[in-house]
Every structure is written in C-alpha cells, then in structure tokens.
Subunit: 458 residues, 3 copies
Amino acid sequence: MQSSAATLEIACGAFVDESTIDALFDELFPICRSITGRGLRRSLAIFERYMPLEIEGVPSGSQVFDWTAPPEWRIRSARLTGPDGSVVADLEESSLSVINYSAPVDAWLTLAELREHLHALPSLPTAIPYVTSYYQRRWGFCLSYDRLRALPEGAYHARIDSEFVPGAVEFGQCVLPGESEAEIVLSSYLCHPSLANNELSGPLALLAVYDRLSRWPRRRFTYRFILNPETIGSLCYLSRYGDHLRQTMAGGLVLTCLGGPSEKLSYQLTRRGNTLLDRVMEDIASEGVIPLEIRAFDPTDGSDERQYCSPGFNLPMGQIARTVYGRYPEYHTSLDNKEFMDIAAVARSASSIERILKRAEISWTYRNLAPYGEPQLGKRDLFPSLNSPDTRQHSSDHLSDERQFLKRSMMILNYSDGESSMIDIAARCGCAVGDLEPVLEKLEQVGLVAIEQGRSNG
Amino acid sequence: MQSSAATLEIACGAFVDESTIDALFDELFPICRSITGRGLRRSLAIFERYMPLEIEGVPSGSQVFDWTAPPEWRIRSARLTGPDGSVVADLEESSLSVINYSAPVDAWLTLAELREHLHALPSLPTAIPYVTSYYQRRWGFCLSYDRLRALPEGAYHARIDSEFVPGAVEFGQCVLPGESEAEIVLSSYLCHPSLANNELSGPLALLAVYDRLSRWPRRRFTYRFILNPETIGSLCYLSRYGDHLRQTMAGGLVLTCLGGPSEKLSYQLTRRGNTLLDRVMEDIASEGVIPLEIRAFDPTDGSDERQYCSPGFNLPMGQIARTVYGRYPEYHTSLDNKEFMDIAAVARSASSIERILKRAEISWTYRNLAPYGEPQLGKRDLFPSLNSPDTRQHSSDHLSDERQFLKRSMMILNYSDGESSMIDIAARCGCAVGDLEPVLEKLEQVGLVAIEQGRSNG
Amino acid sequence: MQSSAATLEIACGAFVDESTIDALFDELFPICRSITGRGLRRSLAIFERYMPLEIEGVPSGSQVFDWTAPPEWRIRSARLTGPDGSVVADLEESSLSVINYSAPVDAWLTLAELREHLHALPSLPTAIPYVTSYYQRRWGFCLSYDRLRALPEGAYHARIDSEFVPGAVEFGQCVLPGESEAEIVLSSYLCHPSLANNELSGPLALLAVYDRLSRWPRRRFTYRFILNPETIGSLCYLSRYGDHLRQTMAGGLVLTCLGGPSEKLSYQLTRRGNTLLDRVMEDIASEGVIPLEIRAFDPTDGSDERQYCSPGFNLPMGQIARTVYGRYPEYHTSLDNKEFMDIAAVARSASSIERILKRAEISWTYRNLAPYGEPQLGKRDLFPSLNSPDTRQHSSDHLSDERQFLKRSMMILNYSDGESSMIDIAARCGCAVGDLEPVLEKLEQVGLVAIEQGRSNG
C-alpha cells in the first residue's frame, strides 16, 4: 500500500497565521477569565473579530441536567498585604493569585489563621497554582511555595472585592456549511485565566482551523465551532443543542493542550471507539504521515468530551491534544506560560488538524445513487465502448492506470451502500484512502455517488 | 487484579441447617414418589412447612405443548412371590421394586414368562435399578442381579395393585421479592422415589438456599423457587408461567445432584451461553474462590433446563450440580443413597449457591439515572469541592483510595448505560467485580444508579 | 468427523447426457448470437426443446435502471474483400469475423484507411478475437494477426449488411417447484457467438442440471433457471423479478466457463460471503469430496452476479466456473472452441453442481414445529418408552447407533430455531452434514421439523 501523503498537503495562505496567533495570545493571556463573567465575555469578543460567533447564555439558577447554572462571579480586586505592608499576592500581578470564584473577604488575620486560605505547591516552589472552587463558597489566595515559606508572623490584611450576581453561563458558536448536513464539531473551552498550553492553545488552534476551513474551495461536511467554559459550558451547550447533534454529528474533536514541547499529537478515541475520526486517526497514525499517538477513551479524566460522551448522549466526540494535561508538571500553574506553550507548536497543531479533516472528508460513507445493477459507465466515458480481449488485461500484477481507475470505480460503486466507509473500501482495494480520492471525485462529478447526508451509523 | 473473595463470604445463621436437612432427608427418602399422585403430594407438603409454596395442578388429559398430562398413578402394593412363597421383590422393602407407573397385574407365571418383566443390572449386581414407563403401559419388578440370578424355576405370583385415575400434574412455587422485577429462577424436581443424590439433594439444597436468601437484608433481584416433577412438571409450569418468565427472567439455575463425593461444583451454561449467570460463573471459576467446573449446554442430556432452553423459550436457565448424573455408576439405582450423597455436601452446595447469587446481584446491569452529561458529584460530596493541582494526582501507579473511589464512580456512571454489566465495567477498571461493590452501593445510596428493572438483553 | 461422501452420490439416468450435450453444442456453436436478435432467439428455441422456458422481452428504448434497452441488431452478411478479390474476413466463415453490433458499411478503402476497422491479437497470431461495441456505433472486422500482417496494399471492399431496429432484450426462465418457497436461482448467459468455454459451457451445464433436478424424487427448495444475454439481460431480468428474488432467494449460482482443462471447479463467493451456498461450498471444499477452489467476490470482473450483487439488490448469488474467464489466453478468441472446452468436462461440471445442490438441500435452515419444550419423542417411537439405567449409556466414546440417532434428533430439534443451519448443527454435533441427513428425514417425516419457508437471513 503506497502512502498518500500528498493528498494531506494543502496550500493555505491563512489569514490567522502564526503572528496573528501570537498577538491574540498576548491580548488574551492577562484576562482574569472564569466560567462566567466579564473576563469570559471579553475573551469571546476578541474571537468574534475573526469568526462570526453567535453568543448565547443560560441564566444563573437554570437547571442544566443534574447541575444548576451558577451565579456570575464578579471580581474587582484581590490583594493580600503582609505585616510590613508589602503585597504578598495581588490579582493585578497575576490572575491566578485568587481562588477562582473566591468569596469576598476584608479581614486581618494572623499567619496561622491565614494558612488554610493560602495555596502553594511544595513540589514546584516557584509556581503559583491554579485553584478553583466554583460550587462551594470559600476565599483564598494562591502564591508560590517559596513566597509562602518566607512569610513572617504578624497581621495580614486579606481583601477580596468579589460578588456573586445573577448572570448567565455563556458560550459562542458558528457554522461553516458544507454539502452534507452531517456535521463535524470542533469545540474548545475558554475559562482558565492566564494559562497557556492548558487553555489558550485550544481556542487559538480552533480559530486557526476555522480560518483555514473557511477558505476551502468545497466542504463536504458541515463544520461547527464551539467555544465555552469547560464542563458547565458544554453541559449548557448540550442542553440546547444535544438533540441537534444526535441527528447530525458525524464526528468531533475537543481541542485542548495543543502547544507544548511534545513532538506528537495525541488523539483520545471517542467512547464508541469506531467512529469516523477514530478510524481516520488510526489510518493516519499507521501511515505515519502525521506523528500521532492514540489514547483510549477515559471518562475519569479530560475535558468536555466527558459530557459529549456521557451515556445519555454518547456522541462521536474525540479529543486532540499535543502536550497532554496532567502529563507535565507545569499543568495548572503559572509555569504553563507562553514560553512553555510555544506559538509555533499551536500553529503546527492547527495545520495538522486541517490535514486530518481533509482526510476525514474522503474517509466517510458515500452512497451509490444508482444502486440497482451496475451503472452504465460507458455512457459516462468511464468504461471502454469497445470490448476486445486486448483491452482487458487480466494480469493483475501490472494494471494500466486506466484499468486501475476503472476497477476502483467499480469497487466504490459496489460498496457505497451506506454501510462501508471509504476506509473500508480502500482496505478492500488494497490502497490508501488518498488513492481513491481522484476516483471518488470523478464519480461525484458524474453524479453517481454523493456523501451520506445523515450522520450514518459511523 | 486482586481477588474479591471477601465479598462472597456471608454470615448466615441459617434455620435450615445441616441437621434440618438430615432430618428432612430421612422423612422424604422412603416415600414412593412419582410424577403424579400421593407420594409427590406428601413430599410437597413437607417442603411447605419451610417455604410458602403455592401448589397448582394441570389436570390429567390436558394438552401441554406437544404432550398430554398423564393420569395419576395410584400404587397401593406390589409384591413378587417365588415358588417357595418367599418374597422376591416388594414395594414395602424398596420403592424402587416396582416399575414407576407400572400397570396392575395379578398372575401366576413361570420364570420364563416372568423374565421380560424383571429388571436388574448385571454391571452392578447388588443394586436395584430405577425404571420408569410413564407413557407406555407395562408392568414389572426391579431387583438386584444377584437375586435375579438365584431365582429357581417354578410358579411365581406377580401382584401389583395400581390404578390410573384422573388427577393432575402438580408443582409448587414461591417468590422472594426484590428491588428489581428482574427474576432469578431456582428450580428443582421432585418425582424420584428413594434416590438421594439424583434427586433429594436438589430440592433440599433449594430449600436451604430459599432459607438463606429470605434472611438477606436486601435483595436486588426477585427470586422464584420452583419444585416440580421432572420434564412433564416443568412443561406444565412453562405452559402457565413461560410468558411471565420471558418478560422477567434475568437468570436461573436448575438444581440437581448437589451431593456426592465430587469436590467441585459443576455448572452447565445456558443455551445462550452469555447470560448473567454464565458470566458470573466464568468469573468465579477463573477467580478460583469456589471450586467450579463449567460444562457446555447439552440439549441431549440433563434435566428441566432442556425445557426452559427449548428453542421456543430459550430462557437463560443454567444448571448446577456437584456429582453429575450419569457420571457415577450408582446413578438411578438403590446405591444412590444417603451415604453416597452425604448431607454435608448438600449443605456446602447450598452455601456456595448463596455466594454465587450474592455475586450475581452486583454483576448485573445497572442504569445511570442522570445519564445526560456527568452528574454533579461535588454536591453529593463525591468530588472535591476545591480543584487544585495538588489534589489531582496523575501518577496512575499509585492512586489514593479516595481518587480510586472517584475514578471507579466515574467509570460506573459512564458505562451504566443499560448495555454494560458490572462484569464489563470491572474489566474496564482492571479490578474484580467485588472491588466495585462499595462504589456501587454508594452510587445507589445517593440515587445515581439503580439496578436494571427489566430482564435486559443479558 | 467422518466424510459423508456417500450422500453426494446420486444415481441419475440423465436424459440430457453427454452425447445430447455434444449434439446441442454443434447446433448452437455456429449461430451468430448477440445480446438481441435472431441468433439469441434461435438459441433460446433450441433450449426450449428440453426445458419449459418462458420467454419475455424488454422493448428497445425501455429504461432499465441506469441503462436503456438497446435496439435489435440484425446482421445479414459481412465480408471484407481484398485488392485481388480474395475474401479477407467473412461472417459465413466465422461469426466472430464482424464486430458484434457493427454498424453497416459498403465502401472501398485503402489498407491504411481500413486499419482502424480491423482487430487482431499480436499475442495470439492465429486467433480471431471476439470484439463488441454494443453502445457506441462503429463498424469493423476481426481476423487473425497472421492474416492481418500479410495483407497487401490496395483497395479493399468492406461490406456489412446490418441494421438496428426496434426489438427487445429477451430472456427465458423456468421453475421447478419444491417444498419451500425459498428459491435457488441458477442463471447463465447466452449472447456470445461461436465461443465454447466462455459461453456455451454455461447454458449447456444449466440445461443438464435442470434435467437432473427435474428427476429428483423430492425437491426441498424451489429451483429457478434463467438464460439471458449477459449484463443487459440480467438487468432486464432484475427489473422485472428483482423484488421477487429479494423475497424468496436463498441462494444462487451464475454458471460460466464450466468446461476447459482445469481439474477443479472454482466458486466465487457472494457479496455477503456467508450465505447458504458460500457455506456449502466451504464445507465441500474442506471435505475434498469435489475438487473446488473458492474465490472472493469481485465486483470488478465476472458475469451477471455483478448485477445480482449490486448494492441495491445484494442478492445471495455466487458464481461457479471451471476454467475461469481471463485466466486462459484463448479467452474471447476463436481458439476457445469445442476442443478446448471438452464436452466431458461440461458434463462433469453439471454432475458436480447437482451434488452441490443436493448438499444445499440438507444444509439449510429448518424449523422445529413444536418449539415450546421438547416434543414428546416417545409417542413417535423416537425415544425408548422404558427408561432404565441400562438403556442410558453415558460413555460417549461409543454410543450405540440408536442412542446417537436420538442425540442427533435432540440437537436438530433444539437448534432448529430459524437461525441455525444444518451446517451449524452438524458442527455442534461434531459430524458432517450428510451424517444428519437420515435423522433430518425422519424428523421431517414425523412432522417435527420442516424446511424454512422464507428466504431466512442466510
């Protein structure tokens, strides 16, 4: 089987290029985001400049499956002052300095009283940890262990000016329509403050992929792009669009942790394990065109795919990452920064995801539109009008290009029965999916096959 | 994977203990049972003392699928007297002495004439064989081959005082209700006269199991206990309750030959081969907690499971034995007696069956009651309310107990989709089913999962 | 497992014996057949003498799925004369001399002008090739390469007296009814002029098989025999009978290339790959009773099975051949003649196909007519009325014939559930299908099983 690497190469004069990603990163990084509120809204607005996001919100207090949409967190300032008046932690300095969703406080405490409100990482003494307490009220500061250790006894002034007000859990989405109503869903989350690989790499790669796909001359699938706060945001999304996705979704990817030093992309299989993108990824991994590892589905860890792949939905949502959450010590700390993430790695990820999606387009299920008997290929100039023993070569060792094209046409037509994907048919032909692309395009052009309209079983 | 032997141990102060079984055996053994009539009725009445059997009968002459319910056999006396007046065979001496369902006779015969009415076993010259002729009228006596050989020429008086009268094929059943309507059916047969391992061990073990299960603090399944004459009795039963079992039956066991010298229990798979108890037994056999061999389903031999597993019903009925019918020479002869059977072996069998059923309870399919998205574990104190990098350990080599409990919770929730059993989920977790028991109980307690109500596909 | 070769031997005083096949061949061979017209009609009429074909036609111009039924080709004469008046090619000499469906011409041409209208095979310089141009109008002659090479310069007279008139695509069929409405379809094609192995061997073998099956004392299946011009003929057939076949067809064979020197028959699997005849052929191939190779389904080559196995129909149609098209150089040339084909080889093929069908009869799915509980075998003298330990042998090493017959009866009854075929049941019994034949016949005779009426899932 020959590689079809060529078909994965796409010339793309992307508008959202590496320098745009770089500038956007710098604008987004300092914002104190959370799962609700002003930081999230400002961040979504920045993405809206490049993609036509429609923003919706689920009001605080709404029942969302087993959850309740939380109130909006408004954080205005947060500062911890030491006995000598020096600033120990300050939101102005790092948006990680305060527990995300911290309750307000304005109090003088001894160091002993303060300790249970301070979070640091002994194992990474220079890092400020990222700590959240969305659903239980508490207040607290985060700081480096080095700083914590050096704190003197005395009276500390803890002041956090935050409040909880009725608001909404907001998310944004936009759609690039294609020839089929079957959808590929790309989703990333936007709620972590000042974290680079595990978080901003995801939305930034999503944007770059959006930009590239919007320039494709044709899209067979419809593509849906979603940005939401993690977990509660995808739950809110599913409460409104879950039924739609059940009807239309042919595949999907949660984009997360797409920067960092890892050479390989890392794909997590869907819960079903045999859907379109699962098979495309296995194909690509075995061809070695894009360095790619494949992970099993894991409902005990990860991101929004846990909601998409909950048993009530069981949607075909995979997850794609580069330097995976939890596998690097800087994860969820102030050391997960721009240097660690590397803008170039994010751009490479976006480019690879585009190539993966290009491959998905021709790996899907197509339907023979003339399935009763063989279509008459001769009248479409796909079969020789003269049938003579010297035009039929039966030595299969060395088929003429014309004869091979014809044989592949007949294979595609016979097996495009709504059950076999192009991956299955390529396997039957003993060739790569990419080798079928010109044949498939010809058959589409003469109207003999069309991409499956529904989401199919895949 | 660690063994979960502990979960199979049940403290049980059984009322039907070994000495009760012993006394019941002695009361039941001499009765001349058959598939109808007074002996069967007396035997059922003895069991009614300990379990609330409801007795029903299908009248003689009723069409029962391809069969006709036979008339009732009344046997009053049967004696064969030799030329010298000595008693050659007598019902008073052994209930095996007369062919079961023998026609009446009162005649003088020469030894030559008599021979075709005499049954003995040359291969086991001291044993009286157990012979039946339910559906074709004949008369005859059974005796040891030693005695047969020694019979002198002369005139013999054969006198059998029996008659065939309209009656009924009777059976008894009772139910121990549980949390689910899904039923486990335990069945044994009661029609053999004066035979120990292959027969009385079955009903006695059934009674002991009933007694133990009636004392369980909770029963997830509903348990149904049936006593009937073999073959025609289970056909009569199925003619009335077959449709009910098709709706409710999650598993079942025919109890037979549960005494004898064999060390191992012997389980015969259901016809489907992949039902709940098939998988539980395979689990237990591979763990080695209970010594157990597994036999293939065999429609050409065995007991009432042949009726339950006929193609029109195809119910999930297995069979459990210890010293299996047909594998020991004493089978169906007077040598299958109390000494051979061993009361202690029967008691051990009952104890093992209880442990098997305990395991079945937690091996079944459960249903996530909040299947859309993940349930919010935090509000139920099953998830840390504070999310910080030091509370998330990603070294899977050494998970904290708390983190392992959480991961197993999430696995159970994600896969309790009505298709995966706890056996499947344990395999995914890389642990024994027993290891999931505390997690499952917690999730049941907070209302997040419940046992499948219907019989499911299993 | 012992072989059941014996059951494949059938005594058959066939009327269509080898000498009849020989005579029919000589009558059919010279006829200038095509996919329509007088040659086809005359050929069908010859077959009608031996089998009650019903002839139908689909009128020229009719839409047939993606095709249009072509006009009828009337060819009266075709002669190419050289500069010296000598005959270069003449329809009178060989019906291969003119392109099948050649347009008319009457013109004088130079050798250079003529060349594009001449067809020869450099690789086989003594052979006249078989050339067709059904759907694009052109004219031309076919001749040996030796002759072509020797043609002198000069003026040639090309004269083809043909015309295209409204007519019909005709086909013929007849049915041998059997006990089940489930059908086995046998089809061959009749449109090639003066070609022996790849063509006449097929219809002649079909006729011989028809003759043999018409003499069977009983037929469980209904057998349908079809003769049609290749491709367009089977499309026309399917346009009228495809829906019927979807309801009734249990299996089928396209008969092609059944003569020639190959020792083995060659079976091409159906598209589904697991249908009745696929499994029968695999059984036979592994037993080695009939030398047989098995080929994968191939939609890019072959005969009418490509239409039956198009995705819209996906009928269980296999293909049987001996010396397969395209594997021998004489294919589609004048060298594919009677000597190459060998009448005796065709007769052997017919005999083997009869044996295969005989096996198919007992390999199919049967249905237990008393599926609830076990049927009462005793009342049908299939079970001993006296049940005694000495009549039950449990040493399975050496079962009595009677006991083995009983065990096989019980296996057939338990598994004849509409899903298991006799092949499946034989595998469970550890015997050959043929070993089950007497048991099956007995169970049919007493009314306990019957062949599946519908086409089943097979």
